[in-house]
Subunit: 228 residues, 2 copies
DNA sequence: GCAAAAGTGTTTAGACTACACCCATGC
DNA sequence: GCATGGGTGTAGTCTAAACACTTTTGC
C-alpha cells in the first residue's frame, strides 16, 4: 500500500503483476479448460492458462478481459477473481505475482483459434491435464474446487449453459463438474422449487422420443442460493 | 505471467505489489479489527489496515508476516489470503495492487503498541469504523463476510480463543462475529456432536456461581466442518 | 409395438428449531 | 436463601435421500 521509497527516492522494487485466467466449460459432458501452448522461451511448448502482465493504471478485471480478448479471442464472459499466487519460484524467469481469474463459458459461444501469441490453443479435460508450465496445475486444481462449491451454492451454472436448455442438460453440467451422478427426480424438484430455473413454452426434440421442455434461468446474474 | 519486454529489452511496467492484513479479534464480546493511523503523506491521520510493499523474491505470505511483525509487533498468527484489490484509483499516489490477508488472533495474546511506522495503532469495532484510507473500508467489509462464513463451515474459531475456554466464551465469539444470538442448548449440542471441541477435566470459576467446564478444540488446524 | 429419453410422487431418516427448568457456587 | 451463570432433553417441523414406473415421440 504505502509507496515507500529508498533513500534515492526511487520506488521500492516489487514483483511484476500478471493475471491468468481459468476458462472452464462443459463439453461432451466433461469439464474442460481452455489451455494455450507457449510459443518460445524457457517454457516453450508447455501448456498454460492464458495470461499476461497488467499495465499500470489498468484494473485487474480490465487486464484479464483485455488479455483474453487479444490473445485468445474470448470476449464478454463471466469473470471472477480466484486467488493470487506469489511464490518467488513459481516462474523461473523472475518473480511475478499472478492474480488468477476464473471464467465460465458456454462452449457453443466460441471456438478457440490460435493467435500469434501462442503455439496452440485447445480445450483439455480438467482431470487429464498435459504437463503444465509454472504453478498452473495447482491453480487449476484450486479453480476446480471453487467451481464445484460455487455450483452447489450459487446460480453460476447459467454461465455454462445457453439461454434455453433442457433439465437433462442442466443436470449433466452439474454431474460433469461434480464428478458424480445425481438423482433425476430430486434434482428437478429442487431447481424448480428454489426458482433457479423456470420453464418456457418451447420444447426441443432431438431423437425419436418425447420432446423436452426448454427452461431458462430465473436470473442470469450471480446470486447465492443453496442448490445441493 | 509472461515477462514480456518492450523493444529496449526493459521489463514492462506493472503496478506495485503490496500486502494488507485484516487482523480480527473478539474483545468484550465485540468483533474488532486492528487499525493503524498513517503518519504522513497524502493519507496523514487516516486509519488503515497494516500493510506494506512486497519485496521481489519474497512470497506474499512471508511479506505479510514480515510487515506485521516489523510494523505492528504481531507474530505467529493464523493468516489466510482474502482477495486482491487492483483498482488503479484505490491509492491516489500511484497504482498499487493490494493482496489482502486475513488474520485471527486471541486478544489475550498481545496488546498493540505503536511503532515508528505509525501515528497510532488500536482495536476498533468493525461496525463503527473511523474514516478509512484507500479502499480499506471495502476490504474490511469483504473480510468480515469471509469471517462470518468461515466460522459457519470451519473450525477457525480456534484462532480467536485461548487454548482452554468455556462453552459460553465460544458461543459469544460466534455471536459477536455473526451479530446474532444463538440458542445455548442447540449450540452446545452441536459443537460437541461434531467434535469441534472436547471437554477437559479442568474448570474455571469467575463469580459467585457454578464453575464452568473448560474445553479445548479437538484440532487447532484449519479444517472444513459444518457448524451452523 | 418398441426403443429412447422425458417426466413425475411418496416414504423415510436425519437435522434443525424452539423452548424452560434445575444445578453449583459464593456471599 | 438468593443471585449468578452453568448446564441439560424433548417434541415438532423441515429437508434430503432413496426409489420405479408412465408418457410421448419416431420409426
Amino acid at each position: 500500500m504505502k509507496h515507500k521509497t529508498n533513500n534515492l527516492g526511487e520506488p521500492k522494487k516489487t514483483p511484476a503483476v500478471a493475471v491468468d485466467t481459468l476458462i472452464f466449460s462443459v463439453i461432451d459432458n466433461k469439464l474442460k479448460i481452455l489451455l494455450i501452448k507457449i510459443l518460445g522461451g524457457a517454457y516453450k511448448n508447455k501448456w498454460a492458462i492464458p495470461g499476461g502482465l497488467v499495465d499500470t493504471n489498468e484494473s485487474l478485471e480490465k487486464a484479464a478481459s483485455r488479455i483474453l480478448s487479444q490473445k485468445a479471442g474470448v470476449d464478454g464472459i463471466y469473470l471472477e477473481q480466484l486467488a493470487t499466487f506469489g511464490d518467488p519460484k513459481r516462474d523461473s524467469r523472475g518473480h511475478s505475482v499472478s492474480v488468477a481469474y476464473f471464467a465460465l463459458v458456454n462452449d457453443k459461444l466460441f471456438y478457440p483459434k490460435t493467435t500469434e501469441y501462442y503455439a496452440d490453443i485447445a480445450w483439455k479435460n480438467v482431470d487429464t491435464l498435459p504437463t503444465m508450465a509454472f504453478d498452473h496445475k495447482k491453480i487449476i486444481e484450486y479453480g476446480k474446487e471453487r467451481l464445484m462449491s460455487k455450483l452447489a451454492y450459487s446460480n453460476i451454472a447459467y454461465a455454462l449453459l445457453p439461454k434455453e436448455f433442457t433439465l437433462t442438460e442442466l443436470q449433466s453440467v452439474y454431474e460433469a463438474v461434480l464428478g458424480k451422478v445425481l438423482d433425476k427426480r430430486n434434482f428437478r424438484k429442487k431447481v424448480q422449487e428454489i426458482k433457479l430455473v423456470k420453464e418456457t413454452t418451447r420444447t426441443r426434440q432431438l431423437g425419436a422420443n418425447r420432446p423436452a421442455k426448454l427452461f431458462i434461468f430465473t436470473q442470469r446474474h450471480p446470486r447465492i442460493m443453496d442448490i445441493l
